[in-house]
């Protein structure tokens, strides 16, 4: 008895192709930099916005490159590069309203940029001076979450809070609020992520699940996580799933904007699979040569998220040399500031850790702190003696 006789036929449901380049992939800007039409989604921004995207993409990549360099020079313990995923992050990040809340993984440096989080703040965690140095309530950008998938439940709970606060479906664009939860292709296998899909659909919570399928979970290819395209997972939970070209900033922007709009209006959750590629190592500690072929990388370089915007702007004469030079100069300046800031980041005082465990610390913990302070002091006195 064949699959086709048994239950709905996936081919019939999703169309012939399950390939990344299949018809279900939403693309508005080709790798060659040509605009594409799509029946459901269209880019409604201005050319000025596109120049803005270009700037975001270039600056994000530069920040990432500088951080990688800092790690190589021993200034960071580790760095998780977003190289190749700039469009997915900038497109989705720019599609958010100021009041929307973001729950990132550890790789959303481009989204952080869109939320005006000082890139320097991101380095603290990777340098080992803190575990999250920014205030999530300032930029509506949550702390990086390292336990894979955990943040998707936080995002869903936060979205349930929005419903209770009456800021969903009021038809007031300045008021209606949504949540976006970022995660990867590996994370979609975690129980927590699937439970978050259940909660979101049962409570019709205003949360958009944004999965950056960069084809790899450290050394494991996407086939180790799913035998069908990831966006189709949503169908099993009763909300829409859509696959977008993750290297196409316009498509990521348009699809995320539509999904967030739906969520804020009270139409519930959606899953966006941004089909992209991790062009670098998993982290600076990783060695991809052990598990993947260089030719894949070459193939994906042809789809570079920045090159296509560059081509689009140039081909259509939408940006002159001054513009490009200006962005370059800004990038240099930001990179320099980042490096300088990193090097001058103060080391934490070990005694401070006792102060962040509880809102109301126990006398016992205070004693531990005091005793440890005396202990540390005893060495200094020795030293001075």
């Amino acid at each position: 008895m064949s699959d086709a006789d048994f239950g709905p036929d996936l081919g019939a449901v999703f169309g012939p192709s399950h390939e990344g380049e299949g018809p279900e992939l939403v693309q508005l800007l080709t790798p060659e930099g040509e605009r594409r039409e799509h029946p459901e989604f269209s880019y409604d921004g201005t050319d000025d916005d596109i120049r803005g995207f270009y700037r975001d993409l270039v600056l994000t990549r530069r920040i990432d490159a500088e951080a990688t360099a800092l790690q190589r020079q021993g200034e960071l313990g580790i760095w998780a590069s977003l190289l190749g995923q700039e469009a997915a992050q900038v497109g989705s990040g720019r599609a958010l309203s100021p009041q929307d809340f973001v729950f990132p993984t550890y790789r959303e440096h481009g989204v952080a940029w869109c939320r005006d989080v000082d890139p320097l703040r991101l380095l603290g965690l990777f340098r080992g001076v803190d575990q999250g140095g920014w205030d999530p309530r300032e930029n509506q950008f949550g702390l990086y979450t390292i336990v894979i998938g955990a943040q998707t439940l936080h995002a869903t709970g936060y979205a349930m809070g929005l419903q209770r606060d009456g800021v969903v479906g009021t038809r007031d664009d300045g008021r209606d609020t949504g949540v976006i939860a970022y995660f990867g292709d590996g994370a979609i296998s975690q129980g927590d992520v699937n439970e978050s899909f259940i909660w979101a659909s049962v409570f019709n919570a205003p949360v958009v699940f944004f999965c950056q399928n960069n084809q790899w979970a450290i050394s494991e290819p996407i086939e180790k996580q799913s035998r069908i395209p990831l966006y189709q997972r949503a169908l099993g939970f009763g909300f829409p799933g859509i696959r977008v070209d993750g290297n196409d900033v316009l498509a990521c922007y348009a699809v995320t904007k539509a999904a967030m709009q739906r969520a804020r209006e009270g139409s519930g959750p959606a899953l966006i699979e941004a089909y992209t590629y991790r062009m670098g190592a998993h982290t600076t500690s990783d060695d991809p040569t052990r598990y993947r072929l260089n030719q894949d990388l070459e193939h994906w370089k042809l789809k570079d998220p920045i090159a296509r915007v560059d081509a689009y702007l140039k081909r259509n004469g939408l940006a002159d040399d001054d513009f490009f030079a200006g962005v370059e100069a800004e990038a240099d300046e930001i990179a320099a500031r980042l490096r300088e800031g990193c090097l001058s980041m103060p080391d934490p005082n070990v005694l401070d850790i006792f102060d962040h465990v509880y809102a109301d610390p126990s006398p016992e913990l205070e004693q531990q702190k005091a005793a440890f302070a005396d202990y540390l002091a005893s060495f200094e006195s020795e030293a001075t003696v």
Partner: protein, 326 residues
């Protein structure tokens, strides 16, 4: 003043907390119309609505994980875990998120979450319904852990736990849910701070430390001992993280002999921590080593043998005698 069960005292305590602060939410399995399998949330959904008393999908990680998100949005979720043995699917969210988010955020993100767990055995239940997981939570910095032992404490401690800006594992002595006591609900001041221990029976021959369900057992032991002319000092620890050790040390110095009682297996249980601390602090006052009475190092057994498995009056007295004979 009316007699009230421990379960009902919890219900009323939560009701007061929900009336005082509309950010307080209850979440869990079957806590709505059913009022929870122990009826602890009985009537609360009817009075506060489905948005504040939330019947969740059947997944504990989801319950605690979404509670974290609600807390980040300014809510004060009170999660009910249906039985002790079912807290483990939520263990990752509790240990790596609830306990650590304040620390991770350098104090910026409070986690005012209460996780209610009916714990312990003695009700003739099947597997996973009679466990005592407290030691594991006490080992996790960032969490606070308390256990109530009587209706009056239940009423006040649940309100104090909900008012706390720190995450609290709130342990409810399952088999004492139906114990009654007089409770004056017109009082508006809590009789004592949440994180304080309390001497519930004075004595001078030996000290018995207990919490949750074992407090009653220890008090019974004290009565029995009195008949044999021995006076036991029984301390209801109430707070397990942080511990409130001063009354414990004082009692240990007074009696020189200490027995710790809990249902959880002895190995790496809280009796070990208490014994280690008391010995460090009262070394020269101890007439005998701190003895531990607890579950054996086996999984919780079938209910037909639980009465023998569980520490009871005789096991407590046996330990007291061994301590006195030392």
């Amino acid at each position: 003043m009316a007699q009230i069960t421990l379960a009902k005292a919890l219900t009323n305590g939560m009701r007061v907390a929900m009336e005082a602060d509309d950010k307080v939410l209850l979440m869990g399995e079957d806590i709505g119309k059913l009022g929870g399998v122990f009826r602890v949330t009985d009537g609360l959904q009817k009075d506060f609505g489905e948005d504040r008393v939330i019947d969740t999908p059947l997944a504990e990680s989801g319950i605690v994980g979404t509670a974290v998100g609600l807390a980040l949005r300014g809510y004060r979720p009170v999660c009910e875990i249906q039985f002790d043995g079912f807290v483990y699917p939520a263990y990752d969210q509790i240990v790596s998120q609830v306990a650590k988010l304040r620390f991770r955020s350098l104090g910026k993100l409070p986690m005012p979450i209460v996780i209610r767990i009916p714990f312990g055995g003695g009700i003739g239940a099947v597997e996973h319904h009679s466990e005592s997981p407290e030691a594991q939570f006490v080992h996790q910095a960032g969490l606070k852990v308390v256990a109530c032992a009587n209706p009056v404490d239940a009423y006040w401690m649940i309100q104090q736990a909900i008012a706390s800006d720190d995450p609290i594992i709130f342990l409810e002595p399952k088999r004492r849910y139906w114990e009654k006591a007089e409770l004056d609900e017109t009082v508006t001041e809590a009789p004592r701070p949440l994180h304080s221990s309390r001497i519930v029976h004075e004595g001078s021959d030996a000290t018995v430390l207990a919490y949750g369900p074992m407090v009653k057992t220890s008090l019974e032991a004290a009565v029995a001992a009195a008949e044999e002319g021995k006076t036991l000092e029984v301390v209801d620890l109430r707070t397990l993280s942080p511990f409130d050790m001063d009354p414990v040390y004082a009692s240990a110095r007074k009696t020189g002999r200490v027995v710790v009682v809990h249902e959880a297996p002895v190995t790496a249980g809280l009796g070990a921590e208490l014994a280690a601390r008391i010995t460090e602090e009262c070394f020269y006052s101890l007439e005998s080593p701190v003895l531990r009475v607890g579950g054996f190092d086996t999984p919780y057994p079938p209910s037909r043998v639980e009465e023998e498995y569980l520490p009871d009056l005789d096991r407590v007295l046996d330990a007291v005698d061994r301590s006195l004979a030392y």
